[in-house]
């Protein structure tokens, strides 16, 4: 029977949740790195024992941790994220130009084939790559040349939070940056182009259809359809069927199209999930009801999934990296909240249970299926 392992990053450490493929009874282990913010802890597809964690804090800055034994022991690897060449400037809140300054790593994404190849999305927004398991990092600086001088931090910081490695082409990578937009490379990161056509940010940008500046919260794809992307934007749930060349809105009947994560079912490429949040000024679910919404039609037609989720007096948020999908036959879904709960559904979202209820605010959730 397979083992299911959930890696949870929180404001005050990391936790590992273990179960079998029934996903009913869970063991909670941790905290790892207690007291530190763990923006992301993740595994590597080609070596389930290789884990990476982004550990940071206001006093002591950024640390990157690596484990080669599934989290039993950890070693620090390089935390030197040095921008390539002259860092340059980006737009600041007052309209002036402000120097690029490294703050933290938001997301780590390992190659599907090589556990030593790992990408890091950082704040201030940039993409770094390591070919040696995190011992050294090199910026893929072509990204910041895509009108980076026009990017401006949003309230959550100017962070590169989403990295999607194309399943059919190792040279194609999608990234998303808050208040800058989505970008794509076809040459392994040397050159990039914005892929924001069709996004509309009325009331947020002077030019609602600007080439860059859109606040993209998350993007995802299904491995069988590498040209079909789904996006949760600040407002609006979007879809592209040509690798981001053009987007169209699929928010449909959602009670709110504001939110953070978006996910695709493991076996149904047209089944997608979002967690609607009332608004950017409230950051909690509409009507105090925590509802995951599922569309089986690739968007537009949505149904609320509520069984086992609190349907009154619930005012938590679900952050962009805090939703995960497993690959078991009966597809499992997992998400963590800013209230410290981690929920699991072992039946594609029809029913949910809480695994743990009182963790620190959850920043990230990843799942591994182990033989």
């Amino acid at each position: 029977m397979s083992e299911v392992r959930i890696l949870v990053g929180t404001r005050k450490g990391a936790f590992v949740l273990r179960s079998n493929e029934q996903r009913k009874d869970w063991v909670v282990e941790g905290p790892l790195f207690p007291g530190w913010e763990i923006y992301h802890i993740t595994g590597t597809p080609s070596d389930p024992n290789r884990l990476y964690a982004s550990q940071s804090g206001g006093w002591f800055g950024q640390v990157i941790q690596r484990s080669d034994d599934a989290g039993k022991t950890w070693e620090t690897v390089s935390n030197e994220f040095t921008y390539d060449g002259v860092p340059g400037t980006h737009q600041w809140y007052d309209g002036s130009q402000h120097p690029w300054e490294f703050k933290r790593v938001w997301h780590l994404e390992a190659s599907p084939t090589n556990p030593d190849s790992v990408y890091a999305g950082v704040e201030d927004a940039a993409l770094f790559h390591s070919n040696d398991g995190g011992k050294s990092w090199r910026e893929l600086s072509g990204l910041r040349s895509v009108k980076g001088n026009l990017w401006q931090p949003g309230a959550g910081g100017m962070c590169l939070h989403t990295i999607v490695l194309s399943p059919d082409d190792p040279n194609r990578i999608f990234v998303a940056i808050s208040a800058a937009g989505a970008f794509r490379t076809g040459d392994g990161g040397a050159t990039w182009r914005p892929i924001n056509q069709g996004l509309k940010s009325d009331g947020e940008l002077p030019d609602a259809a600007a080439e860059v500046g859109h606040c993209v919260h998350s993007i995802t794809l299904h491995p069988s359809r590498p040209d079909t992307l789904f996006m949760q934007k600040h407002w609006d749930v979007m879809r592209s069927d040509n690798a981001g060349e053009l987007w169209h809105e699929v928010s449909g009947n959602l009670p709110s199209d504001f939110g953070f994560p978006i996910a695709v079912h493991a076996h149904e490429p047209e089944t997608i999930y979002v967690v609607p949040i009332k608004s950017d000024s409230h950051h909690f679910p509409p009507d105090g009801k925590l509802r995951v919404y599922r569309s089986r039609t690739g968007g537009n037609d949505w149904e609320a999934l509520t069984n086992g989720l609190p349907q009154s007096d619930c005012y938590v948020n679900v952050l962009r990296n805090a939703f995960a999908v497993d690959s078991l036959d009966s597809c499992g879904l997992y998400f963590g909240t800013t209230g410290g709960q981690v929920y699991v559904s072992s039946d594609s979202g029809d029913n949910w249970i809480s695994i743990v209820r009182d963790l620190p605010p959850v920043l990230s959730v990843e799942v591994q299926i182990l033989p």
């Binding site: 804090g57 206001g58 006093w59 002591f60 800055g61 950024q62 640390v63 620090t76 935390n79 030197e80």
Partner: protein, 98 residues
């Protein structure tokens, strides 16, 4: 030997439980102590000083002999009692509100 104390988070990171003793070459300055400390405990690089500029991180303080010497130049000698090893060079996580 120079004696260095670390805040709890950095002791955990460095996998030490108490004071650290370092053999630091002359002249014994803040920079020399921190260079030696980071050489002996490379996991601390970037957590006390910026990895590139070597500037002290904003919420780190250096105490010695009951004084805050955080704003002293990095290349002047530390107090004699620290250099003699009779007083520790204390690395502190600053009060940060809340």
């Amino acid at each position: 030997m120079i004696c260095v104390t670390l805040p709890a988070h950095l002791r955990d990171l460095a996998k030490v439980t108490g004071r650290i003793e370092l053999q630091v070459g002359e002249p014994i300055t803040q920079r020399a102590i921190l260079d030696t400390l980071e050489g002996a405990y490379p996991m601390l690089r970037g957590t006390i000083r910026d990895t590139v500029t070597k500037e002290r991180r904003p919420f780190i303080r250096f105490f010695a002999c009951g004084e805050d010497i955080s704003h002293e130049p990095a290349d002047i000698s530390v107090p004699a009692d620290v250099a003699a090893g009779t007083q520790p060079f204390r690395i502190i996580g600053a009060l940060a509100g809340g």
